[in-house]
Symmetry: C2
Subunit: 347 residues, 2 copies
């Protein structure tokens, strides 16, 4: 029942922004038709992908705004499109780097063209367009200019962190020789701060939050929420119910995705355990039995316990920050419900 | 002699910004070291490439500022780094799409890594970082917030045009079936507006230019300058002196680069001429004789005359706009000298 508040909040957000998206893309696609059919075709493909997101980040931005006691709800809903534009752009670039075949139930953007090089080029352009559309959306939104300028600075700061995290990720750093801090930093930059802190903070800044103590607590909550999001993603990727998650159990292993689980084994496992994990990581031919064996091994080594405990400690930390963020009981309850939902969701 | 004013202006700009670049990257690389050696390594490679540019766009931004009677020279020099950051980012992404081996005398960024997929991924990230560093540089520069917000809108608008132009370019549109307008639009978006109008306009906006008539004339001059730049680039690529341009004559043909010359032949040549041009376009094995034959063919068909005349008419149009842009004789002379230099340069 406690998750209901969170689910309602996310659903209401999605309902509110649906017509805004429709209108936004109608105008943009019309504009791009003046340039030529190639531009409008790419933008149409981008649109189809952008609107399919869960839009958690946009909802968090609105929540940050409400926490800061912002009153211009029409404008914050409109401005929140910026964050999904940017996110979709990042995913499109990520999919090229990770060589992913699917995204949000569609072929990845770079797989929608033939030959392969044209697809990658189009997807690079689509991501670049998304970044600029996103900037434009934020900077032309209906908020005082000093707030927009500050929001713009935060935008650059957090996006740089995401991309730095991505660099660490694709560099396939040798985890055995890296400190736990470097590994956690990578995941923190790539997902936790960006998913949790960034949207809440941008919303709060546009809503006029200035109290540094509050901002600090909001960041603390956001990091915890972001970690919970990442950790539950990793858990579902390995132990989730296929029918609910919509992707085969173990697909993270097959795709060679490096999660907290694999990092833990490579860091703390014995030689044989490490060898086994390395042999199935990124191996598209592994069987169901291999995956079951990996699931068991991860529990044996203590990786599962480590990840679950890490998640729990973040949820605890996040909850502790809530009272200092807002005195509004309703918003406090939504914040509590959200972090619980994010950590317990089954899909 | 008339080119001297332009050359001096560009050189002075380069001398002024050299220490600013040094300081900027020292701070940024130091920051990135906190993230990890992979991030700072990429940023170091990016830096090496960024500082090697001719920096024409940065100089034009300062000129636009002076035309608008801006007085804060320290801040405009500092802010002008933004445009070279962005430009380098675009070039890095372009080089992936065009599969270029070299840039500014260095291996293209994506060729600096092994294997190829890692290189492309790193270069995608480097470009993305550049876009956000560029935004950050502009938005944190020392100008009133309303001017920065307006500059930010213009930034998005022009960058979108560049990327749309790039989409048209990589789509390898079938020129025989496209109107001249579509082709000219592509080149206009991809180069002319971005190289000529965008930097002058951003500078003028930051300098406080508000007179719409003046802005209109500045844009007219900028488009002409941008076209002159593009046209002379194309001419040098085909008929230039190798020792001065630093690249082999005909390399545009070998790389399959589609210029005004090739568009003209494909649009107006007879079947045999088209066939010949298509047979050498993008063919890395063509000989010196093939290139000589192509040079002659382009003159025969009238492509050379067309391109040179187009360049001349743009220079004329650009010059006519100058008086309405500024009454300052010194700046008028620099504007005149610049467009002349851009069109007559031998490298």
């Amino acid at each position: 029942m406690k998750q209901k508040l969170a689910l309602d909040y996310l659903e209401t957000y999605n309902i509110k922004v649906a017509p805004l998206w429709e209108n936004y893309f109608r105008v943009k696609i019309k504009e791009s038709k003046k340039i030529g059919v190639y531009a409008s075709d790419l933008l149409t493909r981008f649109t189809k992908m952008a609107v399919l997101g869960k839009k958690v980040r946009g909802a968090l931005m609105v929540l940050g705004y409400q926490i800061a006691e912002g009153r211009n709800m029409t404008s914050i809903y409109e401005a929140s499109l910026f964050i999904e534009l940017m996110h979709t752009g990042l995913l499109i670039h990520d999919d090229i780097m990770d060589n992913s075949d699917f995204r949000r139930g569609l072929p990845s953007l770079h797989k929608q063209y033939y030959p392969s090089h044209l697809g990658k080029s189009m997807a690079i352009n689509a991501g670049d367009i998304a970044f600029y559309l996103s900037w434009e959306k934020l900077m032309t939104s209906d908020f005082p200019k000093d707030k927009l300028t500050l929001a713009g600075k935060i935008y650059s700061e957090y996006l740089l962190k995401v991309i730095y995290g991505q660099i660490l990720d694709i560099s396939k750093i040798n985890v055995e020789h890296e400190s736990e801090k470097v590994i956690l930093n990578m995941l923190r930059y790539k997902t936790a701060e960006y998913t949790g802190v960034f949207p809440l903070l941008i919303g709060a800044i546009l809503g006029g939050m200035k109290d540094l103590e509050k901002i600090d607590k909001l960041k603390k909550y956001g990091v915890s929420l972001g970690w919970a999001f990442q950790i539950q993603d990793d858990i579902l990727g390995l132990y989730g119910n296929e029918e609910k998650t919509g992707k085969p159990v173990g697909s993270d292993l097959k795709e060679g995705k490096r999660t907290l689980f694999t990092y833990y084994v490579l860091k703390h496992g014995n030689a044989k355990q490490k060898e086994y994990i390395l042999s199935i990581l990124g191996n598209k031919k592994i069987s169901k039995d291999d995956i079951t064996k990996a699931q068991e091994l991860l529990k044996e080594v203590g990786a599962y316990e480590y990840v679950v405990n890490l998640g729990r400690s973040y949820v605890k930390e996040g909850k502790e920050a809530i009272r200092a963020i807002t005195s509004d009981k309703k918003l406090q309850n939504i914040l509590r419900s959200l972090i619980k939902y994010i950590m317990e969701r089954t899909r």
